[in-house]
Symmetry: D2
Subunit: 225 residues, 4 copies
């Protein structure tokens, strides 16, 4: 897959009841519908167990939330990379703050995704780790100071230089890597501020998942860009 049209909105479904099972499918449809209405690229990142159903019933791009760096063999409890590919994913989040990976594993899975021309989105926690991640040439680096995740305080406001600094230094390493802004983003103002700082999209979760109407929240999110 070639890169998605910027700006992108990636919704990490995490493991909320509101984004699991049947609700995951509903949420994916809300993303699809908000994307059609707004013309903005929107991407679902559901739990592994929910991927097949969403790929079957929607046309939205789907990322896995994580992929273990395992090869075919005896790895009970993991999902094989080849199984993800066969399920039709468009790529994967990697190294989310709730599922940190070793450097060796981040590099290995980023390479596996690249070899299949799939999207890789490496999550990082500050400028330093964003730069390190950029050397691996992922599609995206999503910078999220962990202390802001789930707070509703947007990183673009609390710590704008984390975003602009990541953009500057990531582009200096590899201009093909796009920086996404995560952590605390939920409103149209937050997203506009992120874009202004040089981000080419956002990675977000509970602010949309727990909204009364996720679709309306998504439309609001992209209303100022």
């Amino acid at each position: 897959m070639s890169n998605l049209k910027a700006p992108v909105v990636i919704l990490n479904f995490k493991t909320y009841l509101e984004s699991s099972g049947e609700n995951a499918l509903e949420l994916a449809k809300a993303l699809e519908s908000a994307s059609a209405e707004s013309g903005i690229t929107m991407v679902a990142a559901p739990q592994a167990i929910d991927i097949y159903k969403i790929k079957e019933e929607t046309g939205i791009p789907v990322l896995s939330q994580h992929i273990d760096a395992v090869s075919p063999g005896g790895h009970t409890g993991s999902n094989l990379f080849e199984s993800f590919v066969e399920s039709g994913i468009d790529g994967s989040l990697l190294n989310h703050s709730e599922k940190r990976m070793t450097l060796a594993d981040i590099a290995a899975v980023t390479k596996m995704l690249e070899d299949e021309k799939l999207i890789s989105c490496i999550c990082t926690n500050n400028v330093e780790t964003s730069v390190a991640a950029a050397t691996l040439s992922p599609t995206y680096v999503a910078v999220e100071p962990p202390e802001l995740i789930g707070t509703g305080i947007p990183v673009s406001k609390a710590d704008p230089e984390v975003v602009s600094g990541s953009v500057d230094k990531v582009k200096a390493i590899d201009k093909n890597v796009s920086v996404l802004c995560g952590a605390g983003i939920s409103t149209g103002e937050d997203m506009a501020a992120a874009i202004e700082l040089g981000a080419e999209g956002v990675l977000l979760a509970s602010g949309i998942i727990k909204a009364e109407s996720p679709k309306d929240a998504l439309l609001d999110l992209v209303s100022k860009i």
Copy 2:
């Protein structure tokens, strides 16, 4: 779900190419067909990502290979217990030697499964840990000396007192807990020996998965009981 009719054959699909994606579905159908022909209970334990498809297209009992002890919330990269339930699983393997769990998590997920009347199968590595697991009143304790897994050397031959000792001491703790025999089982003789030692079934993997005809291998497996 009430207990499955003994003896049971549980096939851990692990992460082999032969048991992933479309191949997982084929394998589940082989199990279903071998079960119908032999009258012996056979159970599939596929990767989480393959569960939905197998539940949709077969009628075979399905266990997850593992369940994380997480509650609804922010646990990127996990699958929620409630998602598994919604997917229609009949239960789960827990604490496989390739995915060991903490004692606290084994206890928590065994309880979650019990509350939903689902099957729990705690894998253990020796008599001592089988006894400890039995105090948690799972449906099954599957004893597998890790050094024998994938060797083709059946525990029933290499170390029969691990099986008989587990049966005796597990039953002394809770007579409703059934002991399964894992590690190295692949032939009809192996399974017959396991049953003779008091096991109420077997947990197996590569010996069947990598057989030229998994269905024939399954029929051979249950041919001597």
Copy 3:
């Protein structure tokens, strides 16, 4: 080492500045002195790096906070069991809520300690896991509901049946196993309540470590028994 004279006070030094390096040695001396004055057994559980110095300069019993289940070989970053033995430890805490272990590893290290006649203290989080731990015949099971650790709310008050239930059921499994009461214990009243519920001692940390005078806090702790 034969069991310690009940009741015992085990102080988990954790990784506070007040209980690290030179401060660890001071704290061990406070324990030694409070033990001499009160006649109550008191035990230090310092960081691995601080064990040698404390064994050299005090006569107090010392437990490690954790031991990895590794054999001699290539395990960079671990400390070998044999290194702990050589350092003169009297035993170890295992499976603390801040360092949970797999069931297989708890069983393996408990056995290694028993073979060297050293003390094993398995931490657990509720009655069910206390019972499972008791089947491994450790010296102590220290029950600590994790939600109370560091709160100052004693488990003996918040959830007394966790203590009394653990005592009853642990003794039913193996009457030689002693139950300790952890989580939130800091005053003489807390400890007296724990003993009343059948505990044969306490495991505690920040309440003493962060006291203005740890020695006075320890003397207060044992003043009502």
Copy 4:
């Protein structure tokens, strides 16, 4: 501490019986003596539990094998960074293949070491991860293809472009970062080949630890440079 004089020999003691407890002290003395005789910088990386004794009784530079990215507080089973500093370490290995760390933790501990002017040596598994590590400006990047560790097959022979490629690309990121060559190095010829490829030293373990005379083995190691 300013950088050590190149070339350096770092001996990872791991958890062998030959490099634990009293044997660790003997081995450190062999390093000290071989260093004095040869004039080559030699560094010990013992288990945490053995650090104090080695610092007390030798004058050799000492690295920890690993440091957890924890702050003062409740982290039972870890050693605090401040405890390591107080023990007198000169720095630490990080991210060894037997103790991989998350990218966030590698970055955090590298920064902690830098702030104390201590040596950081980040272990990596290939050119890509060496480059990523170099962006964090550690003192050393030690490249070790994991499949060669402990084999006696030197990376300088089996896969020389991993070493030369790491040197070229690491220097392009930050010319102050030195590349060390690990995995399979044990003879004078191996070390000379590594230096020829641009490495500024070696990281090694079992080849020396298990030698009949570690001191002689060390002298042989540096005999061709």
